[in-house]
């Protein structure tokens, strides 16, 4: 994994861990919403690029959440 992304992946995973006891759909939405509200666009862009390379290191909730946020950003 590109070194600069390790921190970002850890951040996304940490967020998802807070929501992981909820039903999956809610957990993904909660994580996605948090990323949308608190991450600067360049952090999301970096994550988009990381996803394009397979999204290594992201847990399943974080992966889905990042895909949601980054898809929304890409289509905006």
């Amino acid at each position: 994994m590109h070194d600069g992304n390790t921190h970002l992946v850890k951040m996304a995973n940490d967020i998802s861990n807070f929501f992981r006891l909820r039903p999956e759909e809610q957990a993904v939405a909660g994580t996605a919403n948090h990323i949308k509200r608190f991450w600067d666009p360049r952090m999301r862009a970096k994550m988009t690029e990381h996803l394009a390379h397979g999204g290594e290191g992201l847990n399943p909730i974080a992966l889905k959440a990042c895909q949601q946020v980054c898809k929304a950003a890409a289509s905006a």
């Binding site: 600069g4 951040m11 807070f18 909820r22 948090h34 509200r37 608190f38 600067d40 952090m43």
Partner: protein, 953 residues
């Protein structure tokens, strides 16, 4: 309220404390009828009727003592001459305070006092400010028939050991005011009256010097002393002040009101303001005495620039410095994009200055890259409490503590970090309130004179959430919750889901014991005590927030308070003890990259439109970078310029090497500060800042109290900080037009509902006010959420314990946790430049005897502290305050490099660094670490200021 006061405080001293009974009594004093609350002394009743009874041992900050015999009165139908301070007012009494008999008695008493008192009034430091002198005059003492040759207490050596005040026993009248102030007001019990009769004297500790005793130098004794016995050295040196300005202390989040007492533009003394609603006339060693930094020789008062950080600084004009900064910022934006610059507002600066910096960044930088140092301290409080209650703030006022029956103190060390409020807590605890302390260390509050915690739960650092869940589990499974409160106030579905979660066996104290290391029986007992109340209040600090689960823990605390119905009245509540003077304010003012003033998200169209219309500029709807993300982006070369007002990120932020790398890679770092601080080592533009004594503004303390900061002296650099921000904004193409900070507050009030009725005129009238303050709550809000939460129903989030990734291993077997000490303040930029360093000259590493012995470390040895992030070295102190496996240090001195070893782990929600948990190894060493050596060389070079003439050529 008056802004400038008469310095003679004896005129407003009513002799004994106020009583608040609902019953009243009516009596007659010197023929004047007066009605007072039951329990009021005759002395106070007389004062309320406008009659001053002579007194020496009485003062209204202390309970009556009845020793000086000067306040004697006569009461019709009663024998003798009772002391008016200890005699209570009763219905129908007829009291006489002045007649020939009383006058003769008082003169006799005064004559005895003066027969054993030096007659050097004209050269005495208290001349003109001495109650003994005043009373001698008031009782008409004209001669001392006994002469002065008999046995006396004159000619004794002064104790000048304390750097800020002297103790001259020859001038002492043994009124016990100092002893009682130390006990009743401060709660330290450092002073006593030793021996008896003629030999009785005030003794610090066990007849020690003040400096060697338990004295914490709060100044309460000096304040209480009616003579020159305890006297500020600054007054001895300069004489009595001639004017005073009421203002607010710029140290911790208690926000004490002070009178800055001056001669011309020289501050002679800072005295705690009796009508200050946060401190009620009390102070600590920092606010009372440690203000000399404002005129320290290292203060920089001229703007400076340099092309690169390897060059010496050049002093330049304000215009040149501002224009250089602006042109650099514009150049960087052109080269790297609009989002490549940003700024950091300061919790040390006023609301108005903070508001202005975030406005400049949004309106002139055209992005949202603004953050504040709350990021690294209480951002989880904002996030957690907003989630639970709908407001990012504590729920109570400080006075609420007087109604608390149980206090739960978690991850806070109030006697060191919030000393004036700690004194209030200790007072209530001495009155019988119960105490639960959750802290890895045995903090002083656990056992202090006449106070002992019922339960100290010494958990392992990083396991707060496990602990709070175990407490809640006990309460719910033992059916101790306040179901009525839950039914009325909490979202039903949330509660049901939460209850299912918290009841799980995994959250039981027995299961959590393995994680927290705290015996389950103690946790259960503490939970029962908390639930029983009747009034249980939670006080917490950075030991809660500065963790990877900081926000989760804040929500866990809110859940516990909701579960037991401990909200919405006096004596209860969730009380974050804010670290710095204006952390609350900096957050309120919209210094976050995602929020405008009033905690409204930048993506909210109607809010953005409100600000766009008012400011006349288009605003960015996307969140900006938080401080740690700014550093990451700097290393990625997408964030290349920063404006830092009143913060020292290079010392205070975690993983120093990472921060240094980030700052070194930026092309323009602008620092606005009093001193060339650690961040300034990496700066290209230095804008000299103004101290709190030099400007107008407001601070908002931990209880949401908006207090005025008033200009006592002109700004040393010529401009106050808000004026500098305005100039920079204008140079960047966005003009601001304020002529006084009051106009900035008017704008804040106009745009923020919670501040709608706040103005300088209003604050001058009422003294201070707690937000929200608007037409719905025109007098402000001492207690919040009385009839419902700001968000409607309270939200109970699931707070699963997720262990931090910072684990101990055989290579890093100990956990380092960091904190503060009483005499020093945060990065120490101010307190290190005062005599406070006499108490704490360096950061030390506290280590348990077992851990020390295992490593061959003796008390006072130099040790290396090594973590995954870096290595530093410092002196070790072997202490049983620590639990085995945990070591502790402070971060007040840059050269100790405490943050060289802390890591980049952070709170999942806010990015608040996990300062409180770092896996380390400690071993004896005889040299400084590599970082320390490199730093020392670099610092020497980076501080050079060039010869202005050479620079001009």
């Amino acid at each position: 309220m008056t802004v400038h006061t008469d310095i003679d405080r004896t005129m407003t001293d009513r002799g004994t404390p106020e009583r608040t009974s609902t019953q009243t009594v009516t009596l007659e004093i010197d023929g004047i009828e007066v009605t007072v609350p039951a329990g009021t002394s005759l002395m106070r009743a007389a004062s309320l009727a406008g009659i001053q009874v002579p007194k020496l041992c009485a003062t209204d900050s202390l309970e009556a003592f009845g020793s000086c015999r000067l306040c004697l009165v006569e009461i019709d139908g009663r024998r003798g001459t009772p002391a008016s301070c200890t005699t209570l007012a009763e219905n129908g009494l007829k009291v006489w305070t002045q007649n020939d008999r009383l006058a003769k008695l008082r003169r006799g008493v005064m004559e005895l006092y003066i027969s054993d008192h030096p007659l050097d009034c004209l050269t005495c430091a208290a001349n003109g400010d001495c109650e003994l002198q005043d009373m001698a005059g008031a009782v008409g003492l004209r001669e001392v028939r006994y002469g002065y040759d008999g046995a006396n207490h004159l000619g004794q050596a002064k104790d000048e050991s304390n750097p800020y005040f002297t103790f001259d026993p020859s001038k002492c009248i043994v009124c016990s005011r100092c002893v009682r102030a130390c006990e009743e007001v401060q709660g330290t019990f450092a002073l006593t009256i030793d021996e008896r009769g003629f030999a009785s004297h005030v003794s610090a500790g066990m007849n020690q010097d003040f400096l060697d005793s338990e004295c914490v130098s709060c100044g309460a004794c000096v304040q209480a002393c009616p003579t020159a016995t305890l006297m500020e050295k600054s007054v001895i040196k300069h004489g009595t002040p001639e004017r005073s300005v009421i203002t607010t202390c710029a140290y911790c989040g208690v926000g004490c009101s002070f009178e800055a007492e001056l001669q011309g533009n020289r501050v002679v003394r800072m005295t705690p303001y009796k009508d200050g609603k946060a401190n009620h006339g009390h102070s600590c060693v920092k606010g009372r005495f440690a203000w000399g930094y404002a005129s320290h020789k290292e203060r920089i008062t001229k703007p400076m620039i340099r092309k690169s950080i390897t060059e010496p600084w050049n002093e330049v004009s304000w215009d040149e410095a501002i224009n250089y900064a602006a042109s650099e910022f514009k150049r960087i934006q052109q080269k790297y994009g609009r989002g490549s610059i940003g700024g950091i507002t300061s919790s040390r600066c006023t609301n108005e200055e903070t508001y202005l910096v975030q406005k400049m960044i949004r309106a002139a930088f055209h992005n949202n890259n603004v953050d504040t140092c709350a990021r690294v301290c209480h951002s989880p409080t904002g996030y957690g409490l907003a989630t639970a209650f709908g407001t990012s703030a504590g729920t109570q006022d400080f006075d609420s503590v007087t109604d608390a029956d149980v206090m739960l103190v978690c991850g806070a060390n109030p006697t060191d970090a919030h000393p004036v409020f700690a004194s209030r807590m200790k007072k209530r605890l001495r009155e019988g309130a119960k105490l639960i302390v959750i802290d890895p260390r045995r903090i002083d509050l656990v056992r202090t004179p006449h106070v002992e915690a019922q339960y100290h739960l010494p958990l392992k650092p990083g396991t707060n959430v496990a602990m709070i869940n175990a407490l809640a589990h006990t309460i719910l499974t033992e059916n101790l919750q306040n179901q009525k409160f839950i039914d009325e106030r909490v979202d039903t579905d949330d509660f049901r889901t939460w209850a299912d979660f918290i009841r799980r066996p995994v959250n039981s104290p027995e299961a959590m014991e393995k994680i927290t290391g705290v015996p389950a029986a103690d946790v259960r007992a503490a939970a029962r005590l908390f639930a029983k109340g009747p009034n249980s209040a939670i006080y917490y600090g950075l030991g809660v927030t500065e963790h990877s689960q900081g926000s989760t823990m804040v929500m866990g605390i809110a859940n516990l308070a909701m579960l037991c119905g401990m909200l919405g009245r006096r004596g209860v509540g969730v009380n974050p003890l804010r670290g710095q003077n204006n952390v609350q304010g900096a957050c309120d003012m919209g210094s976050f990259p995602h929020e405008y003033a009033g905690y409204r998200h930048v993506s909210d169209d109607s809010t953005r439109l409100l600000f766009e219309n008012d400011w006349g500029v288009k605003l960015d709807p996307e969140p900006g970078l938080r401080i740690p993300n700014m550093f990451d982006s700097a290393i990625d070369k997408t964030f290349m310029g920063i404006y830092v007002q009143g913060e020292d990120i290079a010392q205070s932020d975690p993983n120093t090497k990472h921060v240094q790398a980030a700052l070194s890679s930026m092309e323009c770092v602008v620092v606005q500060d009093l001193f060339l601080n650690e961040t300034a080592l990496y700066a290209h533009v230095f804008l000299p800042g103004s101290s709190f004594l030099e400007k107008d503004g407001t601070f908002t303390n931990a209880e949401r109290r908006i207090n005025r900061v008033r200009k006592a002296v002109p700004p040393a650099p010529g401009l106050a900080d808000w004026e500098v921000t305005m100039k920079l904004s204008e140079a960047l193409g966005y003009k601001m037009n304020y002529t006084h900070p009051s106009e900035i507050m008017d704008e804040i009030a106009r745009l923020t509902l919670g501040f709608r009725n706040v103005s300088y005129d209003f604050l001058d009238k009422v003294g201070s006010v707690q937000w929200p303050c608007n037409d719905t709550v025109p007098d402000g809000s001492p207690i919040m959420h009385i009839n419902g939460f700001a968000r409607g129903k309270g939200k109970m989030e699931l707070t699963e314990y997720v262990p931090t990734e910072e684990r101990t291993t055989h290579r890093f077997p100990l956990i380092l946790t960091t904190g503060r000490i009483l005499s020093q303040y945060n990065v120490g930029a101010q307190t290190r430049r005062t005599d406070n360093s006499i108490w704490h000259q360096q950061d030390v590493l506290e280590i348990h005897p077992h851990d020390a012995e295992f490593r061959g470390i003796r008390n006072g040895d130099h040790v290396a502290v090594i973590s995954r992030a870096g290595e530093t070295s410092m002196t070790a102190i072997v202490s049983e305050r620590m639990q085995p496996g945990v070591v502790y240090t402070t971060f007040h001195f840059p050269e100790s490099g405490a943050n060289v070893v802390t890591t980049e782990n952070s709170d999942w929600a806010t990015g608040c660094p996990e300062y409180k948990v770092t896996a380390v190894e400690i071993r004896p060493t005889n040299r400084s670490s590599e970082w320390q050596e490199e730093y020392s060389d670099f610092k020497e070079k980076a501080l050079r200021i060039g010869d202005p003439k050479v620079a001009a050529e």
